[in-house]
Subunit: 272 residues, 2 copies
Amino acid sequence: MKLDVYLEAEKKRIDAYLREKLPSRSHYPPQIHEAMLYALFPGGKRLRPILALSASEACGGQKEACLPFAAALEIVHAYSLVHDDLPAMDNDAFRRGQPSCHKKFGEAIAILAGDALLTFAFELMSRADDMATSLAVIREVSARIGSLGMVGGQTVDVLSRGGEMDQPTIEYIYTHKTGQLIAASVRVGGMAAGASPESLASLTRYGEYLGFAFQMTDDILDHEGFARTRGPEATREEARAFIAKAKDELTFLQDRAGVLAAIADRVLVREN
Amino acid sequence: MKLDVYLEAEKKRIDAYLREKLPSRSHYPPQIHEAMLYALFPGGKRLRPILALSASEACGGQKEACLPFAAALEIVHAYSLVHDDLPAMDNDAFRRGQPSCHKKFGEAIAILAGDALLTFAFELMSRADDMATSLAVIREVSARIGSLGMVGGQTVDVLSRGGEMDQPTIEYIYTHKTGQLIAASVRVGGMAAGASPESLASLTRYGEYLGFAFQMTDDILDHEGFARTRGPEATREEARAFIAKAKDELTFLQDRAGVLAAIADRVLVREN
């Protein structure tokens, strides 16, 4: 299938770049660098950097120019998973079938590896070629992953544990814990390509709808959130509606909308 | 005493700026913003931002231009203390006579508050007026606080617990856990003022010597590190020698060296 070939090639491109840029295990102290690499490899589908690269290309940009930002987005995602898995947070002993970072390296090193990954993501963004774009991307990403964004979402998620969540709370968690980084990924791609404010606004809505649908299919797999309050069938129906709305936002891309549209469709059939 | 008046005024300037820029408790979710503010206020002596502002002024820069960077350095320091105090790390229940952040808000919120502070520090650095300086400072700070800098130092510190440390290990921890952020503070001040590479090199050595002396006086107070392996008197003697070397590096500043020299002297008589 054509999309699969594309996604696999992009994943390879991103993985190669990450391997090239991350400090290797031979750097002192080795434990922290092992833990950082462990959090990144083998990794998942690399959805966020692929969204960035695809959005960049769709807007007429060069993928190479977007690559530092795309990689940084994946590194931010990896840091957030390492910290979310900690015993004080979601207490997950496994991640993608492997022991989670703190199970493998201990809690202290996992906390520090997350900190170092987040720091490295900003270092990477600051070293891109174009100065104005670098700064704009750092502003964009920092605003969307901080206390008013992704960390805010995780905060509300952690504080809501045990009790039933009301609809606004579930929506806040959806749009912040997962949605902000996905929206940032698409926007960063557009920014790297010099997209117009109008194009960025369309990409933002595409990213937001996609994030919503992504979180819904997540909930169906985990029997949580909307899937628990509304049932899996109603949730899947709503996810489908969001994907349709996401794709509607791509009309400005004309014949370049294909990849982003296909990625959106793929969210509905994902299995993990 | 003149230096005290200066330090108090600078602390007020920094505190006012931090209060203005940090999201207030009225932002959702309030818990994370309360924890972030708790980690920053009342705070300590604000050594790092004061070093940045003083270095900037000594090099002929405007303090206002350096303020976002100075504040970011204090925010980075606050994040590192919150994470270092966690049970999995140094397990400190108190910080400056108050319950540490995780004692007050729980471990999950403390981890997230540290993450959000680190993220916010980068956001602040990215929003300064001069683009080239912003990026240079972000590169400088991220490189010095990541896995090859401050986090590396904390990693080795955590991994060395319980056993006796050899000299190179103690030195690595000194120069990384504390030294890198102090050196970064002085350098960032110089960078904000457009200092020459030669001036920056002198400031770097000043910061490195200062960081060494600072950690030594810390160890004397805590009966750790050098103070344990060599005794407090030999350690104090060595700290004094490092302060002398630090001050020797300030000759390029001529009659503008006063404040940085006085701050260096103050490290020897600090009480906490």
